[in-house]
Symmetry: C2
Subunit: 300 residues, 2 copies
């Protein structure tokens, strides 16, 4: 039987599960996120099914969070303080460990997306890049010398505080920081609250996108001045509005105002701030890469 790795991209709206070895060789399945028990059981069923014909060696999980990633913590692998109904204090690790008795690795959803890009995308040669996802929520992963940027806890880049625009009277959608942080201003959820309709249903001509682009660019200025990344990849549902990229790029240049311009110039701007090269699949492929790392680590 062929050896394969497993991957789970656990999102607040949907779960994607996959088995395979990389971009050219994998199968995946997507189902909606319902209760923790039902959703996790569906994932287990997926791997059971594929384990019959293949030899599953390890699983890499990328999950929404916040998630406890401190390895010696009593709640390692648990989703912690999420506002998502019923998912607080969910153990994402042990159901898979107990069932399959193989190495199971866990990271944030945005970290595995960054790892997917690092492993199979356009960032292989970079020592420092940022992967940002702007969807229902906003998250960011710093990949520094091939490792995830992390302290005792993972970063929460979506909660960076930003100057509020003078013409913006929105009260903000972040339950912790209201209108002070990036997520509270223009996550998919906050755009929906602002406009009274889903972000995905708002037309390109709507003036809200100018404001969204402005806040994204202000956040990028902060990531640039703090992290000095060599590239900024932006994925997530909100960025399906492709017109945002050119607006964000020119706003970033305007705000930097010539300071730190050695990183950013007109020539490399499209390449510096760009969508994921693996499109929608950075996360699920990153999970396969994470599984492979966990498998190798087990034997070392």
């Amino acid at each position: 039987m062929k050896d394969v790795f497993g991957s789970i991209e656990a999102g607040g709206t949907k779960f994607v599960c996959a088995v395979g070895l990389g971009p050219e060789q994998y199968v995946s399945e997507t189902f909606p996120t319902t209760s923790p028990r039902e959703t996790i059981n569906k994932a287990i069923d997926f791997f059971h099914h594929h384990n019959k014909k293949r030899n599953l060696k390890a699983i890499g999980i990328g999950t929404f969070g916040p998630v406890d990633l401190i390895k010696d913590s009593a709640t390692y692998g648990y989703i912690t303080t999420t506002p998502k109904f019923n998912w607080e204090n969910t153990n994402m690790l042990s159901p898979f460990q107990d069932t399959f008795k193989i190495p199971i690795a866990i990271e944030t959803d945005v970290n595995i997306a960054a790892l997917g890009e690092y492993t199979w995308g356009d960032t292989k040669s970079l020592s420092n890049f940022l992967y940002l996802t702007i969807g229902t929520g906003i998250g960011g992963a710093g990949m520094i010398n091939g490792s995830f940027l992390q302290g005792d806890k993972h970063p929460e880049m979506g909660h960076v505080f930003l100057p509020k625009l003078k013409n913006d009277n929105f009260d903000g959608g972040c339950p912790y920081h209201n209108d002070r942080c990036f997520e509270g201003l223009v996550s998919g959820t906050s755009i929906g609250l602002r406009c009274g309709v889903k972000a995905s249903e708002i037309k390109e001509a709507d003036e809200v996108w100018e404001l969204v682009a402005e806040y994204i660019s202000l956040a990028l200025v902060n990531y640039i001045y703090i992290l000095a990344p060599q590239k900024i990849i932006i994925g997530g549902g909100v960025m399906k509005q492709k017109h945002l990229f050119s607006r964000v790029r020119s706003n970033v240049v305007k705000h930097l105002n010539g300071y730190n311009h050695s990183i950013i110039n007109q020539e490399n701007l499209d390449d510096y701030i760009c969508p994921p090269s693996l499109n929608e699949n950075s996360g699920i492929l990153g999970g396969l890469a994470l599984a492979k790392m966990a498998y190798i680590e087990k034997d070392s």
Copy 2:
């Protein structure tokens, strides 16, 4: 003759030079920063003098900037776009290389301060901490797994954009970002512009300090959410106002508002946001550590 290392902490106001091996064994001299030629020659004289009785093996330089730290760049080791009169495009490396024919390493001033703390301070066990200096300007160094956080260029953490306080009518002191960035709001220079007197002459009871503490805490929130540091050390002239520390700590807790609270709690707060354990000497000692690294690297 005894082997020693050399260190230069090159600031916009003063240069500190030292030879020695560490905190218990070094001599130093301080002189004002005048023209590049005069100041660099004084530093060379200092090392010549001490080289007579000791054997100088390498020099570590920490300089104000921005400075070009890309090793294969034609202007590696040059101060680049500084507003400091006469110092733009100053080669900080070759005068020492040409004179002493020993390894000379260069970093930002704040990076060597972080290295000093990492080598001889309270941060040895930490995989991720932040060293911030709030003086004439504001700079920050991230030390991640023992390496300086850096991309193609070093971070410019002092230029992080912050929400402006509603009661603050100051136009800002940053030549690039006016009142949008941390440095433009409350660097020593900006505090001086705000108040019409030097920051060092403003009394503890003055209400400006409440505002300064508020902006520092907003910047710290951004560093915390982006970098997830395990400790934040704050040095620099402005922080000689020791009362700022307790104000900043409580403001940070207020702004985080319970999100990401696993890093920060009342028990460890004094230890989490704190002054340098090497006091004024983090930089000059970090230069000795940098020199030692350059010496070892040469032989490897």
